[in-house]
């Protein structure tokens, strides 16, 4: 999987929507200050005699040019995808690019569960009246339709699934599309996975989502790598990144965020949600090797770090055994919550923002780290010029992904 031209692949545009802010201008200070939006979730369809804690996007603002006609029938995931793509699109000036040379990969599957349950509850006794547009909008690929129509993309667009690694899987696919020359520009998106109380309950029953332990203190519930963690806390989010070759970016006079220097995927051969130490070590080593990077060169790690009891412990051991415990490490999910399908892209974006800002964001609720020998960024942000970063994602079904980023400054 060695890529001789790897340094030529750049990230040149970024879009972010999350519970702590829509757009980089709002997201960046919130991230650096460790602001959060955790509370008992309120969005219709999220609770049924329950009090699941999570972080929800407070409101969405739409560009003027978005058609109300389209927004009326787009799911929440679809609307968030469109506004997020708009930011990345503008930043990378994609309006000036031949639309037949632009591709889009959307990471995530079963993204619109809340629409499904609301449609069911509304029409279960009068199925003959179900809205015809549901025949389009229930498919994840409707996000591709919405985005390609709104932005005039004429290359290709499809969805890819990799559970909580979907966001990184989308980036890996986008890399391949640019590398092979299929398109000049490929946008990778980690889409918003719109959970209902059904998924929340099942994820909690699995032992993956946090319990009621912090029901009276929602702000305390999300605590990756802390000894008192007891599962992940959901957070609505969506991220989009623009990937292109350096020569193409240069010809367009676009300034990059970072160079994609190494990447890898490794499967555990395991259908279940449990993490694999071997799989995580494997994917880290493959990504470093592909990037011609020694562990010592990595000076910042953005881990998967969900707050899962077993997952965090395995991840820390894998990072340590890959000789990476010297690097600064924090946990973006402690601030944003776990975006599931979106997480991989959102955390790449958090890494890019930290590179740009020369500052690392804090980790909320990291009162007693499970391993105190690590170089944690805890209560306050710290100044640091990232040179080489490593970002990790893992998903149910035994998928592990890793991406190395080199500062383009």
């Amino acid at each position: 999987m060695k890529n001789q031209n790897q340094s030529e692949l750049l990230i040149t545009g970024v879009g972010i929507t999350s519970a702590i802010g829509q757009g980089k201008a709002a997201f960046t200070p919130a991230l650096m200050q460790g602001q959060h939006a955790f509370r008992v979730m309120q969005r219709p369809g999220r609770q049924k005699d329950t009090s699941f804690i999570g972080a929800e996007i407070p409101s969405l603002s739409y560009p003027e040019r978005f058609s109300k006609r389209v927004l009326r029938t787009a799911s929440f995931s679809g609307q968030v995808a469109m506004v997020t793509l708009q930011e990345a699109w503008d930043e990378a000036n994609l309006a000036a690019v031949d639309p037949s040379r632009i591709g889009l990969v959307i990471g995530g599957s079963n993204l619109q569960q809340r629409d499904l349950i609301q449609t069911y509850e509304n029409y279960k006794d009068r199925a003959h009246l179900v809205r015809p547009t549901y025949g389009i909008s229930f498919m994840d690929s409707d996000l591709c339709g919405l985005c390609t129509e709104q932005f005039g993309i004429r290359g290709f667009a499809y969805t890819v699934g990799g559970a909580s690694a979907s966001g990184q899987v989308a980036i890996l696919q986008a890399i391949q599309a640019v590398q092979t020359g299929q398109v000049d520009i490929c946008i990778a998106m980690g889409a918003l996975m719109d959970l209902t109380h059904w998924e929340c309950q099942a994820l909690r029953s699995l032992g993956a989502m946090g319990t009621d332990r912090y029901a009276d203190e929602p702000a305390m519930a999300c605590r990756p790598f802390d000894k008192n963690r007891d599962g992940f806390i959901y957070g609505e989010s969506c991220g989009a990144v623009v990937i292109e070759r350096a020569d193409f970016a240069m010809s367009r006079q676009i300034k990059p965020y970072a160079i994609l220097s190494g990447w890898a995927v490794a499967m555990d051969g395991n259908r279940n949600p449990n993490p694999s130490y071997e799989g995580e070590v494997q994917v880290i080593r493959r990504a470093l090797e592909q990037g011609n990077l020694s562990p010592q060169e990595i000076d910042y790690i953005n881990p998967h770090g969900t707050g899962s009891t077993i997952g965090d412990a395995i991840e820390i051991k894998a990072i340590q055994d890959c000789q990476l415990s010297h690097a600064y490490i924090n946990a973006t999910k402690s601030i944003t919550g776990h975006g599931l399908s979106a997480a991989g892209t959102v955390e790449i974006i958090a890494t890019l923002i930290q590179m740009k800002e020369s500052r690392l964001h804090p980790t909320r609720n990291l009162e007693n780290p499970i391993n105190s020998s690590f170089n944690w960024v805890r209560g306050q942000s710290v100044p640091h010029d990232i040179k080489h970063a490593l970002s990790l994602s893992m998903g149910f079904g035994g998928i592990n992904t890793a991406i190395c980023l080199q500062n383009a400054k």
Binding site: R69, R72, R126, H128, L129, V130, P132, T133
Partner: protein, 82 residues
């Protein structure tokens, strides 16, 4: 419900599906296609109107209506027979 009321419901639903029509004065001779409704929009407008009228009829029975006036007429006849 009177035929005129059904016509108003169709006009209202058409405006909801195509917000650009806000302010348009609907006439019975208006054709949904000419108002900018694509096939999905037309299906949506009909479904919303059937929902408002609590009608349970096969959609095939609504085929043939050439404009909003005729659609209101067909729906009115069906609503009387329910």
């Amino acid at each position: 419900m009177k035929k005129e009321d059904i016509f108003e419901i169709i006009a209202r639903n058409t405006c909801e599906v195509i917000p650009e029509l806000e302010g348009h004065v609907f006439k019975p001779s208006d054709r949904l296609t000419e108002l900018g409704a694509n096939s999905v929009d037309r299906a949506e407008i009909v479904a919303m109107t059937m929902e408002a009228l609590s009608l349970q009829i096969p959609r095939v029975e609504l085929f043939g209506a050439k404009n909003i006036g005729e659609l209101a007429e067909v729906l009115y006849e069906k609503s009387k027979s329910v």
